[in-house]
């Protein structure tokens, strides 16, 4: 608090009540660290004996040293030493001479500094990066008053002594006092944890030099970039906030820090601080932008519009839809009044996003938005709109070729404008759509394309832009696809990788958490370990309500709580119809049909299944359609028309074998075998029919054993044994019976499968 007061000393640069953020027109000033860098640069220009390799290493070092925050001398020397031990020693020596000497040593250093400028051959020519930096420093140094120069010199001495105290230097404070102080501090911190700690940090502060404007800008840009592209590498939220507070303490006018603080508190879902920081940022921005023009493209009228828009976005992210709508209306009104079409366009795209989030149909709005964006030449917004439209179209059952065409068109746009972020999203979206349609091979391919693509964006700060949501989505799909094929090792490898890339507290972590839970749930269910699956239900429900409800129904059904399961499924169906989630509706129908089977209501299941089939075909959901056909065939089989069942099964077999999950393949083959047995029942060619069935069963058993689905494996073996018995293959029969016996012993004594044909 106190320091804030101090920073409000009257400012000579205040004009018309506005203090400009860059008060003295100096972006940089001399600090002891900067002197060390200058010494290094000087040393590099003077010394001729340096090897080429060393020189190259040092040259690579220059830019980070110039831009980065001030380092301690020890750290600085260590960095230099890694490149060239000799130079590091020379720098240290020169600094030592300066420190143990007098003020005039520093003065004379700055006097000789500009020498290389006159030399045209020199690397430090006036216009080079190095030369510019040196000139900046000289300028800043020459502006210092005598007392400031003296202060700088003592600061340099302290800087040197703090790190290399072993060298003789001016005497430090008597150690007794320091001890006393330490114990005193500890005393405080035990008395009152929070305050004591704050005090400690406060005392640490002078050792951490304040950032100059340039350094601060660099710091903010870097952190913001990392937050967007790779959250892991950014500072932890608490540490970042501390840095920002520190920066704002030194310069309350540094508006960008408020914005970063907004982003940072969004990470931890802190609505209070994020609102506060956002508004503060725009309050400050209005000042720096403002030449009183309230309507033009520039000036603070513009930032007012974007302030309202950003507030809307904030409320949107926190799910305050009503508030978001109000803020958005305001932004739209102001933008309209000042004829700012670009801002309006942004508003429009937020509007449809908001509508979508609220769950209402916004495709008309989105289409309008796309048209307008194309008209005003805003490729980013246009293709974002198209992607959103594609998503809506995909869930709404639009023709697949149209969607793919649209995506292809946007891809052209992306490559033309190098919108690498959107390219990623587009690929991830394609993956999801293929997956939804049940084309696992295509999905797999798309996912691989994205993962193997080199990002267009230049690699900044050593971060590849690959920790975005698109990558998380694709990796999750990949994990699920592998799990479907029974490659659980690979899938858990992928999940492990996801965990490392997106640690649990980061914003995209929910994606893999859900994916992980689903896979575990499926495995537990297939194993018949329902008690293991049950705890996952609650966890899934926490991440995705509908999915959770569905899984709850599944577990209940498996545990024979038919009535409860039916009630849950009914509730879920209502919910789905409200949110128009077709996939889930079909799945619920299938599960309901299964419930009907349990009560032998095979004929009552038929209308449901037909309805599901129509829906699935309408929405091009091939996997679900095939599954529905399997269900239909089973019902027909049970109703005593196996010929019909076999007929329609042929239709479904091809896609299932091509794209389906292992489990589905096995189930389909098992069903085929059953039908074959049923069909061959009364005829002469019974034997060939049965032999066919045996072959089919062999195949099914292979799939089931790969999935580790013991329940079904047991049924299959049983059938195999029976068939072999009927065919008179005693040896094979005994073998199958043994296998059956082994599996049966592993499984808990449970109800036996449905009566076999």
């Amino acid at each position: 608090m106190a320091s804030v007061h101090e920073s409000l000393y009257f400012n000579p640069m205040m004009t018309n009540g506005v203090v400009h953020a860059n008060v003295f027109g100096i972006k940089d000033w001399v600090t002891p660290y900067k002197i060390s860098v200058l010494v290094l640069l000087d040393e590099m220009t003077i010394s001729k004996r340096m090897t080429l390799l060393e020189r190259r290493r040092l040259n690579k070092l220059i830019l980070p040293l110039q831009q980065g925050p001030d380092l301690t001398l020890r750290h600085f020397l260590k960095t230099v030493e890694e490149c060239s031990a000799e130079t590091a020693f020379a720098v240290k020596l020169r600094l030592h001479m300066m420190v143990v000497g007098e003020l005039k040593d520093m003065e004379s250093f700055f006097d000789t500094l500009p020498n290389p400028f006159s030399d045209a051959e020199s690397e430090a020519s006036k216009t080079s990066v190095v030369g510019l930096f040196m000139r900046h420093m000289l300028l800043a140094y020459n502006k210092l008053s005598f007392s400031q120069v003296y202060k700088l010199y003592t600061a340099l001495q302290r800087y040197y002594d703090d790190c290399l105290g072993s060298q003789p230097g001016p005497p430090t404070a008597p150690p007794v006092d320091a001890d006393m102080e330490l114990s005193e501090m500890e005393l405080t911190s035990t008395e009152d944890g929070a305050e004591g700690k704050m005090d400690k940090e406060d005392d640490e502060a002078p050792r951490r030099c304040p950032l100059s404007q340039k350094q601060a800008e660099y710091f903010l840009a870097r952190q913001a970039y990392l937050l967007k592209n790779d959250e892991n590498k950014a500072l932890k939220p608490a540490a970042l906030q501390e840095e920002l507070n520190n920066m704002l303490k030194f310069n309350p006018d540094f508006a960008e820090a408020h914005y970063l603080s907004y982003l940072n508190s969004m990470r931890v879902q802190d609505v209070f601080i994020s609102t506060h920081s956002l508004l503060h940022y725009f309050d400050r921005l209005i000042l720096t932008g403002g030449d009183g023009k309230s309507n033009g493209d520039e000036g603070y009228g513009r930032s007012l519009r974007y302030a309202a828009l950003n507030l809307a976005a904030l409320h949107c992210r926190f799910g305050h839809y009503q508030q978001a709508e109000l803020a958005l209306q305001e932004a739209i009104r102001i933008a309209q009044e000042s004829n700012d079409h670009v801002c309006l366009q942004h508003c429009l795209s937020w509007l449809y996003t908001l509508e979508q989030m609220k769950g209402s149909d916004s495709s008309v709005l989105t289409e309008d938005s796309v048209k307008m964006a194309a008209h005003f030449g805003l490729p980013y917004l246009a293709s974002l709109g198209i992607q959103s439209l594609v998503q809506q179209g995909a869930t709404g059952g639009k023709a697949a070729n149209m969607l793919m065409d649209a995506l292809k068109d946007t891809d052209i746009l992306h490559w033309k404008h190098s919108l690498s972020e959107l390219i990623d999203i587009s690929l991830a979206q394609t993956t999801s759509i293929w997956r939804m349609y049940g084309k696992s091979t295509m999905a797999l391919q798309c996912a691989q394309v994205l993962l193997n693509m080199n990002s267009l964006e230049q690699v900044d700060f050593g971060v590849q832009q690959n920790n975005t949501e698109a990558f998380a989505v694709v990796l999750c799909h990949l994990a699920e696809l592998h799990a479907e094929q029974g490659l659980f090792g690979a899938s858990s490898e992928i999940l492990k990788h996801l965990k490392e890339r997106f640690p649990p507290h980061t914003q995209h972590a929910k994606l893999w958490m859900l994916c992980d839970l689903k896979i575990q749930f499926e495995r537990a269910m297939n194993d018949g370990k329902y008690h293991l699956a049950e705890p996952h239900v609650a966890a899934i429900a926490a991440l995705d309500q509908m999915e959770g409800l569905y899984r709850k129904g599944l577990v209940m059904k498996a545990q024979n709580q038919t009535t409860d399961a039916y009630r849950v499924l009914q509730r879920l169906q209502l919910l789905c119809e409200k949110t128009k989630c077709t996939e889930m509706i079909i799945r619920v129908m299938l599960t309901t049909a299964e419930l009907h089977w349990e009560s032998s209501g095979f004929s009552t299941a038929l209308p449901l299944l037909l309805q599901a089939l129509v829906l699935a075909r309408q929405h091009h959901l091939q996997a679900l359609a095939s599954e529905t056909i399997l269900h239909l065939a089973f019902s027909q089989l049970m109703l005593g028309v196996p010929e019909q069942a076999l007929n329609i099964l042929h239709e479904a077999m091809e896609p299932i074998l091509a794209h389906g999950a292992l489990l589905d393949k096995g189930r389909a083959l098992l069903l085929v075998a059953k039908c074959q047995m049923a069909v061959s029942g009364g005829r002469e060619d019974r034997r060939t029919g049965l032999e066919q069935a045996v072959q089919t069963l062999d195949e099914a058993a292979a799939y089931f054993s790969r999935m580790g689905c013991k329940d079904r494996l047991r049924d299959t073996h049983y059938l195999q044994a029976r068939l072999h018995h009927a065919l008179g293959h005693t040896a094979q029969r005994n073998e199958c019976a043994l296998l059956f016996r082994m599996v049966d012993q592993e499984l808990p004594p449970a109800r036996y499968g449905l009566p076999d044909g």
Partner: protein, 583 residues
Amino acid sequence: GQANHNVARAVGFGDLVQIKKQLISVISLCKERGLVHSVKWASELAFALKPLPMSELPPPAPLTEEDVEDLDALGLAKSYFDLKEYDRAAYFLRGCRSKKAYFLYMYSRYLSGEKKKDDETVDSLGPLEKGQVRNEALRELRVELSKKHRTGELDGFTLYLYGVVLRKLDLLKEAVDVFVEATHALPLHWGAWLELCNLITNIEMLKSLSLPDCWIRDFFLAHMYTELQMIKEALQKYQSLIEAGFSKSTYIISQIAVAYHNIRDIDQALSLFNELREQDPYRIENMDTFSNLLYVRSMKPELSYLAHNLVEIDKYRVETCCVIGNYYSLRSQHEKAALYFQRALKLNPRCLGAWTLMGHEYMEMKNTSAAIQAYRHAIEVNKRDYRAWYGLGQTYEILKMHFYCLYYYRRAHQLRPNDSRMLVALGECYEKLSQLSEAKKCYWRAYSVGDVERMALLKLAKLHEQLNESDEAAHCYIIYIQDIFSCGELLEHVEVSTALRYLGQYYFKNKRYDEASLCAQRCCDYNDAREEGKALLRQISQVRDQGEASSADVSLPCVFGSLSNNNTPVRRVSPLDLSSVTP
């Protein structure tokens, strides 16, 4: 001195002579130690009491062996100290052993550090380093003082200094404890109480402290209540102090005036300030508050006189600049006003009132961006400055960002939950955003907490009117008219006539012709509603001629049924009861 302080605890207000004696002795103690502000406070208070006869004058504090030893060094150091050569003073005091010399030694070191810090700020290496400048002496002082504190060697004055050092290091909790200890050791030293006052943030904290039982505690409590906006309690305390015999004290008068200003009782405050200026014509303190009051009442000549007077006394004082700023603002010369507020800030950047006032000026000049900056500065100095939050809200409202300004109004409302102005502002914003139910709540709440501008009810009534909730609207109008007439002021005739007009129509529709004609007659008292009033009267007589009975027995529906479920006691008014409110 110690003996005196022990007596102090026992003395009540009955014994003014004792109090005076104590004041005189503490004045000399503080004077020797260079604590000028405490000297001033005690002297002002002593001046308000009757002079003592020669025989009653307290003897000077007895000298100890050590005091005598240090006498010369102390004299020399004190003279350097008075000349603001703190390092020099400290140098000559370094070997002294007496308590007095020790205090002055430490105090000089502290002040030297403060002075250097202020100088450094101008001379720092870069703008971002400004926040880093600190009083380098503080840490050393803290270490030394805490050592002595543990062994119990500190007297009242050094305890006070220790507290100040702790506060400057932001160790607020420890500082409070030390200041409480200081007040116990030396209750008469006002400086310690004042420091304590700045550190106490709420009433619970105040209650939890164990303070010495001394007459000076009442002064402290009264001051504290004013700071915590508990104006009623503060006024009670001050009243009892006046009755106890301090009626002539300018300090108390000024404090009461400020208290009245805080609760917007402008007349009382004005008369007290006038009295203050009569007694103490060259006083500059608190005159900025006085000028605020004059400004609110638009008393141009008085404000102009005050400004001239203060400029003659001392034109380089923050208060003077604020007064001049207010003066120009009242004359609508906003550029000049802003200039003077800037000057006030130049003189003391910590003066938060000036930031807010400057914001208001920029608002008047329609320089919204500068206004926002000024308000933001005010908030940075003091996050709890509700006027700055309110001002920010107003700025955005002017920019027609009604949703955006809600946040700022809400902050202001949080800080002053019982101030109707914020609630009305919130209500207006909600109305603009078509959030009518929220708006209704705000207006009703504004009325319930005591509406200052008497606009809330009217707005509420109009809102009900808009929503065709005629019963509620009528009831609001009734209460509004009651309110306006009961306070005897006739401010806005337009609005009263609007209310009467609506009520007339309302009663007419409900076939209560007696009330309707009463309202219509009242309407005729106003120019803008006269015609309508007459028309209504004609209509009524027409209907009556047709022999339609007035349905007086139909009782009005419970108008506030929907609103009074929060158990707010509502003044139930008989709608007929308009006879007493003849304008």
